[in-house]
Amino acid sequence: MSDSGATGTPGAGPAVSRTVDPAADPAADVAAFFWDGCARREFWLQHCTSCDAWQFYPRSLCAHCWAPTGALEWRRPGGGAVLQSFSVVHRGSGAFAEHAPYVVALVRLDEGPVMMSNVVGDVVGDVVGLAIGARLELGFAERAGRVVPVFARAGEPAPGPS
């Protein structure tokens, strides 16, 4: 792994004190980058050029190999995913009460990482046809003024503006 000395790895010499300047670091706020992308209906995923792994959620380092921010590239994944598990929430609470029933899912992106999302486009509450292992496609939905990445079964009309 490169850059280990600069991060003060034990045994690699004396600890190094560094001044961090968030303003000079384009990846300082990876969450803002991710959600700003979603607002433009673009899904950006981090890829590590050091170990060739993808990661979700976005981080300031590669959680696989500890490569620093500079080794992480933002790429647009293909949008395909597989349904790992899902649950139809019948009793939404707070801001979600009006959306119930809705599907909360864990989906494995074709690039590898797993994320939580919603599966839309099904008649929720009667989820005939939605099954673990189903092929899914990425889309976006707008909720309370915010655009969030969601998934629909592959082959159905991709979820678009709503």
């Binding site: 959620y57 598990s85 649950s87 009793r91 609470s93 797993v114 939580m116 673990i132 909720r143």
Partner: protein, 387 residues
């Protein structure tokens, strides 16, 4: 490791404050004070014997007061203090912190306290919303998971991978309800049936209301953890193991099999010098009925996917192969908040003392207590035995 460092410590006293279903809990400090005086009296000690205090955070008031404030409120004078802060921790960790303080020579008689009042403070709906905030604010909460949804996602995958049935998941609730009905302080009444549990209101598929923990208005627990065995009612903390492997459910290596649970359990058992076969009972944190199945499988009581078959025919009931949650757990006794796993410790102490009355297990000499943070993200196991 020297013999002195590894010497087991003892739970010399235990107390449990009962609030009752739907009744408003006393103020937080009143509950802590009652648990403190109760635990010290139960140990047959005097407050002047206490030279340490470990405070468990509660869910809505992680720093309502710091442990030094509590020690001062109780008039304990000069003591070692520590706090287990809020955040994905198994509540059983306070036993480990007390033991560590004793092993380090910081204290010899440690009061451990926990109190929760959150559904009193926030109401039921407020409590549910607060629990939802356990999910990652940036990448999970935008999708609306309830706490039950985390366990529902595990359940759905377990059903998919292993053919586990809703009836098997219901059987866990039926068995633990039977224990709760033997507990005079249980917050529920009436037998459950497998068919009734399956047909109950769905909260987050495939889990119905009866497959999920209660939400209680409050409660408290107190313990005296001591270097020395005080008397025959002292219970010995023979081992403690803990491990964490993720926090966000999307980062879990699997939704059905958790090697870090095995590691935490093995650490506790190895320290105690015992095996699973030696255990007379287990008190598992049971926020949803899938959790005991996963624990049985991950700890090695049965193979992967065999948890459903294990729980059939009342194996988890008193007199069965492995009595689980003899007090009724959070499914049938109460769920006061962070201290739910400490109710399990109180029950283990009560069983090992032979003082559990109608729900006393036969010849209970060795038990396992489980606590978890969030959704099996962090797990702590304590092995307790008769002294």
């Amino acid at each position: 490791m020297s013999a002195a460092r590894s010497a087991p410590v003892h739970i010399a006293g235990a107390a449990q404050e009962i609030v009752g279903r739907g009744r408003p809990a006393p103020a937080y400090r009143n509950l802590l004070a009652a648990a403190a005086t109760g635990a010290v009296a139960d140990a047959g000690l005097d407050r002047s014997d206490v030279d340490g205090l470990v405070l468990s955070s509660s869910i809505p008031q992680p720093f309502e007061c710091n442990p030094a404030e509590v020690a001062e409120y109780l008039g304990l004078g000069t003591v070692y203090t520590a706090m287990a802060p809020y955040g994905g921790r198994p509540a059983t960790d306070v036993l480990h912190i007390a033991r560590s303080a004793i092993h380090a020579g910081l204290a010899s008689t440690v009061l451990v306290l926990s109190a929760d009042t959150f559904a009193t403070t926030l109401g039921l709906e407020g409590a549910i919303e607060l629990y939802m905030k356990s999910f990652d604010a940036v990448y999970e909460r935008p999708f609306g998971p309830l706490i039950p949804t985390a366990f529902a996602l595990m359940t759905a995958r377990h059903i998919h991978d292993h053919g586990t049935t809703l009836e098997q998941l219901a059987q866990v609730a039926v068995s633990i309800r039977r224990h709760g009905l033997l507990n005079p302080h249980a917050e529920v009444t009436g037998e459950l049936t497998v068919a009734g549990v399956v047909a109950d209101t769905v909260v987050s598929t495939p889990l119905t209301r009866s497959m999920l923990a209660l939400i209680s208005t409050g409660g408290a627990q107190g313990f005296v953890v001591s270097r020395e065995r005080v008397d025959a009612r002292s219970v010995t903390l023979l081992g403690y193991g803990e491990a964490s492997a993720f926090m966000s459910l999307s980062q879990a290596p699997s939704l059905t099999h958790f090697p870090h649970i095995r590691q935490a359990g093995d650490l506790a058992l190895r320290q105690a010098g015992v095996t699973l076969a030696d255990l007379d009972f287990a008190q598992f944190y049971d926020p949803a009925t899938i959790v005991p199945l996963i624990l049985l499988e991950s700890l090695g009581f049965c193979g992967p996917g065999e948890g459903g078959a294990f729980v059939e025919d009342g194996a988890l009931e008193i007199g069965g192969r492995l009595p689980v949650n003899t007090h009724g757990g959070t499914l049938a006794f109460r769920h006061p908040g962070m201290g739910a796993a400490l109710d399990s410790v109180v029950e283990a102490v009560t069983q090992l003392r032979g003082e559990a009355g109608a729900r006393q297990g036969p010849d209970a000499r060795l038990g396992l207590v489980h606590g978890q943070g969030s959704w099996l993200a962090t797990n702590g196991f304590a092995v307790l035995g008769r002294s």
